[in-house]
């Protein structure tokens, strides 16, 4: 097995420990030796991954490799599960979000999340859904809310389809529209990072394509981390890709070079469909 070292790639050194990237400028969020457990079961092992500002970073890997757990650690949602634990640091803009005294709620306002199955609030209208993050955190000014709702729906490529009736129930939209509604809802609170946990896996190809275009357009203003089990989607949408296997980072690098010429044998086998 020949290892090709390039300065843009991160790969296993001879001791089998992943070395952190040398280029850390414009890193928006990165993890340092992140470990995570559910009870006694360790699902993430010493992860050192970074997501650069205004880029899309994809996390790929076979089922059960810890991808969803990983991004839930980035906005401190992992700890909401009973008996869940983490150790290590997650550095957002230079400060550790797991430091003592940090309020997880403030982190979640800076790091938003979109889930696999669209989950708009069922008893709220489209308007209320998008405004929820602002309203329920105390914003009362209707002009501010109106602007935020329109801006977010436009960014989510949904404004034209719903502007005629913002009062209709969020649950009455189609699957693809609901997912864009959830994205608008996440964008309304103006986070800095958007986490997406397999956002297209419940959608048809056309809805998927719309969301991929959306991702490409929002990355100018946000940092996106997307978990996907669809390798082609990762290849289409992301600038950087991290390959996880059994909770460990196997390889991280620029998407085009990782997909054309992966450094690790395991990555090669996964990408060419020989397992997983």
């Amino acid at each position: 097995m020949t290892l090709v070292q390039t300065e843009k790639k991160q790969s296993l050194s001879s001791e089998g420990v992943v070395q952190p990237l040398k280029t850390l400028e414009n890193s928006k969020v990165r993890t340092e030796d992140l470990n995570a457990w559910y009870g006694n079961n360790q699902v993430l092992k010493k992860l050192n991954i970074e997501a650069r500002e205004h880029s899309v970073t994809a996390i790929i890997g076979p089922s059960g490799c810890g991808k969803s757990t990983f991004i839930r650690c980035l906005n401190r949602m992992h700890e909401l599960v009973p008996k869940a634990k983490t150790s290590g640091r997650v550095i957002l803009d230079g400060s550790d979000i797991y430091a003592k005294g940090v309020d997880p709620v403030t982190i979640r306002r800076r790091v938003g999340m979109v889930f696999q199955k669209p989950n708009p609030f069922p008893t709220m209208s489209v308007y209320d859904n998008v405004a929820a993050g602002l309203k329920l955190n105390g914003e009362r000014n209707h002009a501010v809310l109106d602007r935020a709702v329109q801006r977010s729906l436009e960014s989510a490529f949904l404004w034209d389809e719903v502007k005629g009736d913002l009062d209709k129930s969020g649950a009455s939209l189609s699957g693809g529209q609901q997912q864009r509604l959830c994205i608008a809802r996440a964008l309304a609170v103006e986070p800095e990072v958007i986490l997406m946990d397999e956002p297209c896996s419940a959608l048809d190809p056309i809805a998927t394509a719309k969301i991929e275009e959306l991702i490409a357009s929002i990355k100018e203003n946000y940092t996106v981390v997307i978990v996907t089990h669809n390798m082609q989607q990762a290849a289409r949408v992301s600038d950087f890709t991290a390959f996880l296997y059994l909770g460990q980072l196997i390889e991280y690098g620029e998407t085009t070079s990782l997909f054309e010429n992966p450094a690790e044998e395991l990555t090669e086998r996964y990408l060419t469909g020989k397992f997983g």
Partner: protein, 284 residues
């Protein structure tokens, strides 16, 4: 018979048996409604509904105090029982997955099965005897105790039906836990919670045994929270026992009024909740 037509036959048979049972189940309800309406409709008039009972043995008078009493009693019971029940239900659903929660849940289930007459006797001993008078407060307390476990259980069940993805979505927006529970989870479950409250009210409005021990009944309109009062179930009971025909007729009338009250509450709140499913924008 071939396999296929045998199965079809069984299918049809099951359908018909089911339909038959449904019809049979409706018969008591329909016959009761029929009897009550037939016997009670003629006594209903404004006088009947607003006047105090007359002299025993003489026709005349009405069930005014009883209607007032039931309304006040149920009102007070709601004020005491609903907040307590809903909050307990919220606690058990959102924060109750631990030993303390399990104990509370168990106790709640036990309380739900308590005979209402026993509760009445307990309140009699604790409140009526202590304060040396039958009172509205005592009645409201007894009815709240009966109502509480019903509301707790139905609130908890309704909240548990809200999928976790909704809570996740709200938490991920950076909304605090208590706000998530109240503004997102509770509003999503509200029709279930309201239904539970309605059922509890209907149940409690018709209880008569505990009322005997707590409010006693009276001829007069409401005269203070610490005095006895009349209520429809009691009035119906008393009227039914009197040997006079006018009393029997009035009893049927009172029964009709009670049933109508429960129906109106039921339908009214359902209508109000249904309107909310397609919510309005919260803008003036």
């Amino acid at each position: 018979m071939s396999n296929y037509s045998m199965r079809r036959f069984k299918d049809r048979l099951a359908l018909w048996i089911g339909a038959l049972c449904a019809v049979l189940a409706m018969i008591p309800l329909i016959s009761i409604l029929y009897e009550v309406v037939k016997n009670g409709a003629s006594t209903i008039n404004v006088d009947f509904l607003t006047a105090a009972p007359g002299v025993i043995g003489q026709a005349g008078g009405g069930i005014g105090p009883a209607i007032q009493g039931t309304l006040i009693l149920v009102g007070l019971t709601i004020i005491i029982g609903v907040p307590l029940g809903v909050l307990s239900g919220i606690y058990l659903s959102e924060f109750g997955d631990n030993p303390v929660g399990r104990v509370i849940r168990f106790l709640n289930d036990v309380l739900a099965e308590f005979p209402s007459v026993v509760i009445g006797v307990v309140i009699f001993t604790l409140i009526v005897l202590t304060f040396r008078s039958f009172s509205v407060i005592a009645g409201a307390l007894a009815l709240s105790i009966i109502m509480l476990p019903i509301i707790t259980r139905s609130t908890e069940e309704s909240l548990k039906l809200v999928p976790n993805s909704i809570r996740d979505a709200s938490m991920a927006l950076g909304i605090r836990r208590w706000r998530t529970t109240l503004s997102v989870v509770l509003t999503t479950a509200r029709s279930g919670v309201v239904t539970g409250i309605l059922l509890a009210i209907a149940r409690v409005a018709g209880e008569s045994a505990p009322l005997v021990f707590t409010i006693l009944g009276s001829q007069y309109f409401f005269s203070g929270l610490s005095s006895p009062m009349d209520a429809l179930p009691l009035r119906i009971y008393r009227l039914a026992l009197l040997p006079y025909p006018y009393a029997q007729a009035q009893g049927w009338g009172a029964a009709l009024v009670l049933i109508l009250m429960v129906l109106v509450v039921n339908i009214g709140v359902r209508w109000a909740t249904r309107g909310r499913l397609y919510s309005r924008r919260s803008r003036p």
